[in-house]
């Protein structure tokens, strides 16, 4: 009876429509409690940072006048749009890589452990296509996380710290429009770096069934990279370390804006993305489902 009822609606495709797969993957990721918790965290961090800065700069009235805090208060005053930059650069070191890694770990290793990967392979979703769908989901969520952080940072900055301007590291002040431009640029740059981290994580994710291994190996590597970056004697190694470009992201708030380090950072991240996805594809193609 099922046969008869469905006969008009059964197609002869050999692949499910890609948009349907992408939509299903995004819906699946967004339904996941840990994704929602992660996005919630990303939304709260800028607000907490805004309140923290505000309290720190307003507090010491009764005690001895603290020159430094008064100085910071003066800098922050009216420059609320510096908050998203501050928060993004801060989260760049650990929180955002952690999220990208988590989504990559769930995408293949976690899915394999739950058996969902087998369901998809049997549908069938081809292995290259499966990787593309997973990569798309991860990329979108990384972007969403960074955008949420930037938008809430900007809103919190303007609401809590006040002012719609941005004081650059070079001492000049940018107006509202150019400030938003700089924030948008930083969002793009940070997202690309997180994509690179997620690509490494995804490569590891195709090699194991345990998401925890993906998490420890990727974050462990980032910590090791950061340590190596700090050792001047190893400067010959620095150009190939992903984390080398992370501090240079602060160039976004210089005036005029130097672009050399930024370009290097983008190229470096692109290499990591290419290598990461190549390894992932190679491994997924032969992996036992």
């Amino acid at each position: 009876m099922t046969t008869a009822a469905l006969s008009g609606l059964v197609t002869t495709r050999t692949k499910a429509p890609i948009f349907r797969l992408l939509r299903a993957e995004l819906r699946f990721m967004l339904r996941r409690p840990r994704t929602l918790a992660a996005l919630g965290l990303v939304a709260i961090v800028p607000v907490i940072a805004g309140i923290g800065v505000s309290l720190a700069t307003n507090a010491p009235q009764g005690g001895g006048p603290d020159q430094a805090i008064a100085g910071i208060a003066a800098i922050v005053k009216g420059n609320g749009l510096i908050l998203p930059v501050f928060v993004l650069l801060l989260s760049m070191t650990m929180l955002l890589p952690l999220l990208g890694t988590m989504w990559s770990a769930d995408a293949i290793a976690g899915e394999a452990a739950a058996g969902g990967l087998r369901n998809l392979l049997l549908a069938p979703v081809g292995r290259a296509r499966l990787l593309a769908v997973k990569a798309f989901g991860i990329a979108v969520l990384c972007l969403v996380a960074v955008v949420i952080m930037a938008v809430l940072g900007a809103v919190a900055g303007m609401a809590i710290l006040g002012g719609d301007q941005m004081l650059t590291l070079s001492g000049s002040t940018l107006g509202f429009g150019p400030s938003l431009g700089r924030i948008a640029l930083l969002v793009a740059l940070v997202t690309i770096q997180i994509w690179a981290v997620a690509a490494i994580a995804l490569a590891i994710s195709t090699m194991t069934d345990h998401s925890l291994i993906v998490l420890s190996v990727t974050l462990g590597s980032i910590i090791i990279f950061t340590v190596l970056t700090a050792i001047p004697a190893l400067d010959w190694l620095h150009p190939v370390l992903l984390t080398t470009g992370f501090p240079d992201l602060a160039d976004v708030v210089r005036d005029p804006m130097p672009t050399d380090a930024m370009t290097d950072g983008i190229l470096r991240a692109a290499c990591y993305i290419l290598i990461g996805y190549s390894i992932a594809l190679g491994r997924l193609a032969t992996r036992d489902g």
């Binding site: 099922t2 046969t3 009822a5 469905l6 006969s7 609606l9 059964v10 197609t11 002869t12 495709r13 050999t14 692949k15 499910a16 429509p17 349907r20 797969l21 939509r23 299903a24 699946f28 339904r31 996941r32 409690p33 739950a114 058996g115 969902g116 990967l117 087998r118 369901n119 998809l120 392979l121 049997l122 549908a123 069938p124 979703v125 081809g126 032969t286 036992d288 489902g289």
Partner: protein, 346 residues
């Protein structure tokens, strides 16, 4: 190989599944399939034939290679050596053409605990190439109905019982009409009512002309639902063919009641007749000999015989003889099926 072809042609009375393209007489076929994990040979020399329209029960003790064989058949695992043909398509090159018409439940169903049963199925349905987008909600609803999960469809998968999880896996395999349905231990964790329902589903599929491949270690299960059987043991197919034929072949046994069990067994074995002592008496396999010869041999050896009668073998007996290490190696070598030589070339 000629015996294989003969068997398949003899299969023409089975309901033929409507094949759109080139009609395949075998829904699935493996040749010389081998899978090695490290130093462990999981599956070796597996030549499996799944005739179109059959319900083939894959039997074997735990670790006999059932699941590995099924996973290679479905392209989940790459064989170390050998060829696989699924619905007439060569694997792995044309896997994508075969799989949309194959429904499968392999090992534990792979669903996510934070989604409801319906949402989990929707996700599976979205990946099904043959389902039109507009048909998805209805296909999901009907599949849930079919396995009796409609009432629990909105509940989180986390709260499902083992049986419900298994049913949901079955529903995913039945999302749309298939040519081949592969069920790996489908009654695992099901209560007797659930087991009966699975049997009913298999019977429905068979009536609709769908080929079904069921793996199980429950012999009664296979005996009740299957038209064909393949017995796996230590990674090899030790017997396969129509269930009725195999049982008939297994029938040719004699049970001899004698006070002199040991002498009887020795006398028969000296004359190259496969005999073994059982609590009921001496059992003789008649595939290589005849009843009068057995009796004559015993009389010549001056063994006292109280009673000789033919014994009906059931699947359990057959299975025990094929898979238990201490059974005589007589086997079923001249049954109209292929049986691998006991000493595998290695």
């Amino acid at each position: 190989m000629t015996s294989v072809t003969g068997m398949v042609i003899g299969e023409s009375e089975a309901p033929a599944a409507s094949t759109a393209g080139a009609p395949a007489r075998l829904a699935a076929r493996t040749r010389n399939l081998r899978k090695v994990y490290g130093r462990t040979v999981a599956v070796d020399h597996v030549d499996l034939d799944v005739p179109v329209g059959s319900v083939l029960g894959m039997l074997g003790p735990n670790g006999s290679g059932k699941t590995t064989t099924i996973r290679m058949l479905l392209g989940l695992v790459t064989p170390t050596a050998g060829a696989v043909e699924l619905l007439g398509h060569q694997l792995p090159a044309r896997l994508g053409y075969a799989l949309p018409e194959v429904g499968a439940l392999v090992e534990s169903p792979g669903f996510h605990s934070f989604l409801s049963g319906r949402e989990n199925l929707m996700r599976c349905a979205a990946a099904e190439p043959h389902l039109a987008t507009a048909a998805i909600p209805r296909a999901v609803g009907e599949a849930l109905e079919r396995v009796g999960l409609s009432a629990a469809a909105g509940r989180r998968y986390r709260g499902y019982s083992l049986g419900m999880k298994q049913r949901l896996g079955l529903a995913a395999a039945l999302l749309l009409p298939r040519k081949l349905v592969v069920l790996d231990e489908p009654t695992n964790g099901l209560d007797p009512a659930g087991t009966r329902e699975v049997r009913a589903v298999i019977a429905d599929l068979h009536a609709a002309g769908t080929t079904v491949l069921v793996s199980s270690h429950l012999l009664a299960e296979v005996e009740a639902t299957c038209t064909h059987v393949a017995v796996l043991h230590q990674g090899s197919v030790v017997a396969q063919g129509e269930l009725a034929e195999l049982l008939e072949a297994g029938n040719s046994g004699l049970l001899i009641t004698t006070p002199d069990t040991e002498r009887a067994v020795n006398a028969l074995r000296d004359n190259r007749m496969p005999a073994r002592a059982t609590p009921d008496g001496v059992r003789v396999d008649l595939t290589a000999t005849t009843a009068p010869e057995v009796v004559a041999t015993l009389v010549h050896a001056e063994v006292a015989v109280h009673e000789v009668h033919r014994q009906r073998t059931d699947l359990e007996d057959l299975f025990a003889r094929l898979t238990e290490p201490d059974s005589p190696e007589a086997g079923l070598s001249n049954v109209a099926t292929q049986v691998l030589p006991p000493d595998k070339p290695e």
